[in-house]
Amino acid sequence: MRHFVVVGILVIVMAVLTYVGLDSAGLMPVEASAQSVSIDWLWNWQIVAISFLFALIVVPMAYSMVIFRRRKGDITDAEHVEGNTTLEITWTVIPLFIVLTFAYMGAYSLGETRRVDPNAMVIKVKAQQFTWTFEYPEYGGFFSNELHLPVDRQVVLKMESSDVIHSFWVPEFRVKQDVVPGRVTEYRITPTLIGSYKVRCAEICGTSHSYMENAIIVEDESVFTAWASEQETIMLASQTPESLGKILTVKNGCVGCHSIDGTQLTAPTWFGLYGSDVPLADGTTVVADDAYLAESILNSTAKLVEGFSPTTMPAYTLTDVEVANLIAYIKTLK
């Protein structure tokens, strides 16, 4: 009996200490969406259960290991106890109830994360190796590689992938949703905290999967509207080949692989590309003129750049004008 009392007290002490320790360790990133509230609520109950069950097993184990260790020279066996059906039933039935409770809580909190606001703003998302492109239909359908969101308004992202599976995850928003080729998946979120975050692709999608991260900016409604209207105006005002080309690179996600500032990503940088000598995989070099760029854009493997994989660049169907605009834009990068 004495053993049980001591262990009982120790279990409670240990459970409380574990919980306090875990709780004060700051396990989760900041809570930046309405959806994260119910997720963190359930998470907290999980931590309570974890702390208690951890103590419930570890304390009696450690206690037995010390108190009931075999003394030197003792070669006898311990007391012959085969089992106890009441106990076994107890530790089957009580956990069953706990588990069902958690399943119920899980379903409830899942429901909370999916709560629909009929006024949610729709944003279209295209995932591709290795960038995200966002389209704002409410603002004339301009494209952006940064996701700007107004605070405290629900948005629903309609997500599509043009190549492989990706996964939209913002740790501060908690929620994660895969983007699957051939279908539209939905991500509903209500940002609640102004700040900048990143969407990080959580499903391995190829060589540069690590870098498939785009900025997310949550801002005041008025700031957001100003930004969106400005983007819309820029889009409508863009008439020069260079500016149209730039829009095309955003829309087609070229900058997910090609940098414009000289850093080497999955693909050759565009900085200083025009007019330079490009070493090819077959050992020859070619001058990056209009014809070469046009060929590379439509059929990049025709002349494979040395050190790069032939399979990575997607096949694009672009009109002659669009190709010309892209080239005009690439020319400006030096």
Partner: protein, 630 residues
């Protein structure tokens, strides 16, 4: 060296090479006559490599002699029931043997080899992760036709699958060596099938390693299409390797089940079987019935790539999510294949070192079956974010959480077993205790992944990575080491060095805790899994450095083990008697175990774990066997 070249292993590998050339040559020839391209980046074209890989396996099996008895039977030539191994010494283990003990050791040593290889891969990419930015796996570097990040992906993916194969072989090793001994059988039910199951795993491992040099693949061990449909030709070698290894698993499982059903000693009723036998049966049921699904899912992607069949290609009406269902239908139960035997080892050894009966034997036995059955209806919990039917996530959450109940029964019963025992701490027991605590960590971090809403955050992060390393180390690696330390004297007549064993334990366990807890912490804060590089702004550099150091400490501890293991075979302290003072039948006869196991059959006359019941016995030997061997 000369001896080596006469072994089945050397023959098999030689013929595998020939097979690859023949298969690839055949396709290349056909392609040439059809006017198709005959060479590609890795010399042969993809179809050529695939047929080559396939032929390689067939040639290996034929060349190694693993099927020569069947071949003789087909030609009407009789073969003796038992083969005396004409090799002695180490060559015996590189040759085809029908003795379950030799096969068990072959499995075990192969598992250790793969464990080292998988571990080595982990150390390489763990080193790259020690700091943010790419240090040596850079975009500029090139090896095996891959740049740094791609090589990272290949190593990371292969680490996963090589470890899985290693675990499957380790599980088969324990079951093969121990189960017939526990049952009092002379061998497994089908000794030739048993040899076949082992030998087919060898070319499978070769194929897996080949994928590394054929451009690798960047999908992780899960091989999800469409990514796997576009990966380099290494992907196909990976698929083929896993497909082949699956045969080993399925046939091995069949053998275990038949052996347990048919070959138990007199008096060994179901409820008097050693608990490890129960666990082996549960594991084998899963392996026998689920493995086909991973083979199938990979085969479908293989065909998609080779023949353009659009199973998972949305452009052709295929469905990428379907693959995930097929894949996880095996791969979830598979984790129970990995852990159930380990949990069986825990239950088997605890009474020996606590000198007390196993608490609630029946409950523990049934909980293994319970886990195996419930394990079949939980697969979609790997897919909560996949875009599968939204509402179906809820029933899968319920079924998943149910797994906690039989698992809980095991934990409570273990604690009750050592409660008021007389516990001693030889190395096997240390690993058993370590296993329980580590598995507990894995078990407790499971439910947050099971409840859908929290999983939306945790899925595909380092939290998961930490969680499953806990379950696999607690459920397999620790018990595997415990089993090796425990049964080593039975196999060799010598024991492993206790001091080195303790160093192994005390180095590995704390490092392991640091590693998995650190993984879970950064996972919660935003570290995705399967990334070669991470955003420095996340501030994970220090934690990752610690994780890398912990990883190296684990590797060092395993080196200590390896030295101890191989050195003790010749130089270990002699231990021919009942070293652990166990009631189990295999310890009632001198070690090492004679070639055909028990000279006298035994009869079961009591309960397996009645420690502390004066005068009770589990088995009693009966009159000498009439069934003599040459």
């Amino acid at each position: 060296m000369k001896k080596f070249f006469s072994t089945a292993l050397a023959h098999g590998l030689f013929w595998q090479l020939i097979g690859i050339l023949v298969g690839a040559g055949l396709v290349t020839g056909i392609r040439a006559t059809m006017g198709l391209s005959v060479t590609a980046k890795f010399f042969f074209t993809e179809p050529a490599w695939v047929l080559g890989g396939f032929f390689g396996v067939l040639f290996f099996i034929a060349g190694s002699g693993a099927v020569s008895d069947w071949y003789k039977w087909a030609r009407g030539i009789d073969t003796p029931e038992h083969h005396e191994d004409h090799h002695t010494g180490w060559e015996k283990y590189l040759s085809v043997s029908l003795d379950h003990k030799v096969i068990g050791i072959q499995y075990t040593v192969t598992a250790l080899v793969l464990l080292s290889l998988g571990g080595l891969f982990a150390l390489i990419f763990r080193t790259e992760l020690a700091q943010s930015q790419l240090q040596f796996l850079t975009v500029e570097m090139q090896l095996f036709g891959q740049n740094g990040p791609q090589l990272y992906n290949t190593l990371m993916s292969l680490h996963g699958m090589i470890m899985i194969v290693s675990i499957l072989l380790g599980v088969a090793g324990i079951m093969n060596y121990v189960v017939p001994l526990l049952l009092g059988a002379q061998d497994m039910a089908f000794p030739r099938l048993n040899a076949f199951s082992y030998w087919i795993a060898v070319p499978a491992a070769v194929l897996l390693v080949m994928s590394l040099i054929l451009g690798g693949f960047d999908t992780g061990w899960t091989g999800y299409p469409p990514l796997s449909a576009r990966a380099p030709v290494g992907m196909q070698m990976f698929f083929l390797g896993v497909f082949t290894a699956g045969w080993s698993s399925i046939l091995g499982a069949l053998n275990v089940i038949v052996t347990v059903v048919r070959m138990r000693a007199k008096g060994m009723t179901a409820m008097r079987m050693p608990i490890l036998v129960w666990a082996s049966v549960a594991t084998s049921i899963i392996a026998l019935t689920a493995t086909q699904l991973i083979g199938l899912s990979f085969q479908l992607v293989m065909f998609q790539r080779l023949f353009g069949m659009g199973f998972f290609d949305p452009a052709k009406g295929g469905n990428p999510v379907l693959f995930q269902h097929l894949f996880w239908f095996y791969s979830h139960p598979a984790v129970y294949v990995f852990v159930l035997p380990g949990l069986g080892v825990i239950s088997e050894l605890l009474p020996v070192f606590a000198r007390k009966p196993l608490f609630g034997y029946r409950w523990i036995a049934m909980s293994s079956l319970g886990i195996a059955l419930v394990g079949f209806i939980v697969w979609a919990h790997h897919m909560f974010t996949s875009g599968m039917n939204e509402y179906l996530r809820v029933p899968f959450m319920y079924s998943t959480l149910l797994v906690a109940i039989p698992t809980g029964v095991k934990f409570f019963s273990w604690v009750a077993t050592i409660w008021k025992g007389k516990i001693s701490y030889e190395t096997p027991m240390l690993f058993v205790i370590g296993a329980i605590v580590v598995f507990l960590m894995g078990g407790l971090t499971g439910p947050p992944n099971a409840t859908v809403s929290t999983d939306l955050h945790l899925h595909d992060t380092y939290f998961i990575v930490g969680h499953f390393h806990d379950t696999i180390f607690g459920g397999f690696v620790f018990p595997f080491f415990a089993a090796l330390y425990y049964w080593f004297p039975k196999a060799t007549g010598r024991r492993m060095n206790e001091t080195l064993g303790k160093i192994h334990f005390w180095l590995m366990t704390p490092s392991f805790f640091v590693m998995t807890l650190g993984m879970m912490r950064i996972g919660l804060l935003g570290m995705r899994r399967r990334i070669a590089d991470y955003d420095p702004a996340l501030g994970f550099d220090n934690t990752h450095l610690v994780l890398t150091i912990a990883g190296f400490l684990i590797a060092i501890s395993v080196c200590v083990f390896m030295y101890n293991f191989f050195n003790s075979i010749k130089n270990g302290e002699k231990a021919e008697g009942n070293v652990w003072n166990s009631r189990s039948p295999e310890w009632q006869v001198p070690s090492p175990m004679p070639a055909h196991n028990y000279d006298q059959p035994f009869e079961v006359v009591g309960e397996p774990y009645d420690y502390g019941l004066p005068g009770s016995k589990y088995v009693e030997f009966i009159a000498p066997s009439k069934n003599t061997h040459k």
